[in-house]
């Protein structure tokens, strides 16, 4: 629609000077006339264009409503607010619509602005700015405050943690110090204990050395003495024999009795010396073994034969029980000595009861020999010391009254010999029933000697 083909009715002179905008609109919204006020405010042309084109979107609907509505006569006028777009601005303007329907060119809508102090709008803008500024400041402050609060909480938490850590460290430190002191004390104790142990060790070594010296001295002494003693004993016995054989003239009964006693005493002395020699030889490790096949049954018979005079004299019977031929590879002389030792003991201390010797092959190889007597038996508390040197129970308990004699070295020697041969000598005994001395022998003795 072109403005050139249309014309306004011409503004009344009074309206030209009106302080507010006055517009004459065709019913389709085209501006026909303006009093120039709006042009100044918007800095753009107004007449001849659709008012819509100057309006903000929301205001267009309002203008359409203004054009559509025709108030009834007498109805009080209602003001409408429109937002107009200037070259760079937007501004609100309040208009009173006035319809004139007596125009020759058709209906006209007059928009008469309700004038407003221009400062009014400026105050509004300023207030809005202040309000916004305040809200923004409040927003920023609250945000910072919250952030600071969180940082403070964090700091507090860290401080708390640090304090806790510090306490823990302190505690651990104290604990470690205490442990350290304890360790130091323990170390000192250990040092003291070590010193003591060292001292004891030295003492022990010294004692051991002394003992060794004493033992070897004793053994040397035994050996030397035995040799030195045997020579005069042999001389005594030789002269006794000559005397008893009446080489130096006949003896009367009293003299003969005296010489026989002297001879028995000399014999006992010689046995004693021999045993001492045996012991010292065994202890010095000088006993040399010569292994050969030994028939134990035959050997027992030989021993019986050699001891028969003694057994007969004491009225003691000797019996051998053997399960077939039992042989071992061993030192015949030593085994014989062992047997003689045990059997003569059984005869001597057996109280006249028969002596039994049982020979049997041992279950794991080797042999076992038992010498059983019917003597008074040995009390359990004495069974341990019977193998000690120079212990003779009967003599200890009854003095010399039983008439049995011995050196007190027989059983210690027997046990040493059994061990030398690789076996063992044990005793089982019941008081009032008798004693059984049992020794074992390996089927083959070790070639080398050793005590």
């Amino acid at each position: 629609m072109s403005a050139t083909t249309r014309a306004g009715t011409g503004l009344h002179p009074a309206l030209r000077a009106f302080p507010g905008a006055v517009l004459e609109l065709a019913p389709d919204g085209v501006v026909l006339e303006s009093n120039g006020c709006l042009e100044r405010s918007l800095e753009r042309a107004v007449a001849g264009i659709r008012l819509d084109d100057l309006l903000d979107g929301a205001s267009r609907a309002k203008l359409a409503e203004m054009l559509r509505r025709r108030p009834a006569p007498g109805e009080p006028p209602v003001a409408w607010e429109l937002i107009l777009e200037g070259r760079d601005t937007l501004s609100a303007h309040t208009f009173y619509p006035v319809w004139s329907d007596d125009d020759p060119g058709g209906d006209r809508l007059w928009l008469v602005e309700s004038p407003r102090d221009p400062r009014f709008g400026a105050v509004h803008e300023e207030l809005a700015a202040v309000n916004s500024e305040q809200a923004s400041t409040q927003r920023q402050l609250s945000k910072e405050k919250a952030r600071l609060g969180r940082a403070l909480d964090e700091l507090e938490r860290e401080l708390g943690e640090n304090a806790q850590l510090s306490r823990t460290l302190q505690q651990q430190n104290e604990e470690m110090e205490a442990q350290n002191e304890e360790l130091l004390a323990m170390t000192e104790e250990l040092h003291a204990g070590q010193d003591q142990l060292l001292g004891l060790n030295h003492q022990l070594e010294r004692r051991s050395r002394e003992l060794q010296l004493a033992l070897s001295a004793r053994n040397r002494f035994y050996a030397a003495m035995s040799h030195e003693l045997r020579t005069p004993i042999n001389a005594v016995m030789g002269y006794n024999d000559l005397l008893l054989a009446s080489v130096y003239g006949s003896l009367n009964e009293q003299q003969e009795l005296a010489i026989e006693r002297s001879q028995r005493a000399a014999q006992h002395l010689r046995e004693l010396v021999n045993d001492v020699l045996d012991i010292s030889r065994l202890e010095a490790g000088r006993a040399e073994l010569q292994p050969e096949t030994v028939d134990l049954g035959a050997l027992v018979d030989e021993v019986f034969a050699s001891l028969r005079p003694m057994a007969q004299a004491m009225g003691v019977a000797m019996r051998l029980s053997s399960t077939g031929a039992v042989t071992v590879e061993s030192d015949r002389k030593q085994v014989r000595q062992l047997l003689e030792n045990l059997v003569s003991n059984a005869i001597r201390f057996g109280a006249g009861a028969p002596v039994f010797v049982r020979v049997q092959a041992a279950r794991g190889g080797g042999a076992q020999v038992e010498v059983v007597d019917g003597g008074p038996g040995i009390a359990p508390e004495d069974q341990g010391r019977i193998f000690d040197e120079f212990v003779q129970l009967a003599r200890d308990e009854n003095g010399d009254s039983t008439g049995v004699d011995g050196t007190g070295l027989g059983l210690p020697i027997a046990r040493r010999v059994a061990r030398l041969l690789g076996g063992q000598l044990d005793l089982s005994s019941t008081v009032g029933v008798g004693s059984t001395f049992r020794f074992t022998l390996p089927d083959r003795v070790a070639g080398a000697a050793g005590a």
């Binding site: 760079d88 207030l127 809005a128 700015a129 809200a135 927003r139 945000k143 919250a146």
Partner: protein, 230 residues
């Protein structure tokens, strides 16, 4: 506007089944009664409504209604300004509580409004709602000089830049801001735009080079949440 007249609108809205607190708040801001508006907000909070509820169920509908009332020629621009100013003040009163519960650990959003101050309230709402959801938001307000905005975006490298314009002539400024950010910053943020022109023309945002748009604060928060849901 006379209080009696505001009450008439209230009656209409009640018939439409609107929330009671929203109605009473609207009555208060239409009447320009700042004290009563604050009371309504306080009472709603005391009754158990949280800050997000106040924003979405009281402030936003009330402001939308204010715009409608102006379009119906029932209130004036002055009334609208006053109502908006009171609502802004009511929002500001909640900031203490809002930021105390916010973590600010989420994505960063920088918001700027191309209009004058009296149209910034919508964008402010978007920022506040996102802040409640754990975002870190910087609200620059109205009339930020363009070079300053671009420098800030380049420096702080936000995940989102939100721009708003309510009035047609200001769209140019939004377009210029988008262009400047696209050309000037090495790291490109998501650019969100909003305001009445974008709601009226759904294709406008894309034509101007923006990544997303929404018609109100709740929808904007929803869209951004979707986009940045880890």
């Amino acid at each position: 506007m006379a209080p009696a007249e505001a009450a008439v609108f209230t009656g209409e809205r009640r018939a439409a089944g609107r929330d009671d607190a929203a109605n009473r708040f609207l009555d208060a801001i239409v009447a320009g009664n700042r004290r009563r508006a604050f009371e309504v907000a306080d009472q709603a909070q005391a009754a158990g409504m949280d800050i997000r509820g106040l924003y979405l169920q009281v402030f936003q509908p009330a402001l939308r209604e204010i715009g409608r009332l102006w379009q119906q020629n029932r209130i004036t621009v002055a009334d609208e300004h006053l109502a908006t100013a009171i609502t802004q003040a009511a929002m500001a009163r909640l900031y203490e509580g809002l930021f105390a519960s916010a973590t600010g650990q989420g994505p960063l959003l920088i918001a700027a409004c191309a209009d004058s101050e009296r149209h910034e309230v919508g964008l402010r709402m978007v920022c506040d709602i996102l802040e409640m959801e754990g975002w870190d938001t910087v609200f620059l307000g109205a009339a930020v000089p363009l070079p300053d905005l671009v420098r800030m975006v380049c420096d702080r490298r936000p995940q989102v830049v939100a721009l708003s314009a309510s009035l047609g002539p200001n769209l140019e400024r939004v377009e210029a801001a988008i262009r400047a950010i696209r050309e000037g910053c090495a790291e490109q943020p998501v650019i969100a735009v909003g305001g009445r022109p974008f709601s009226a023309d759904p294709g406008l945002a894309a034509r101007m080079g923006a990544d997303l748009t929404a018609s109100d604060a709740a929808e904007a928060a929803e869209r951004l949440r979707e986009r940045f849901a880890a």
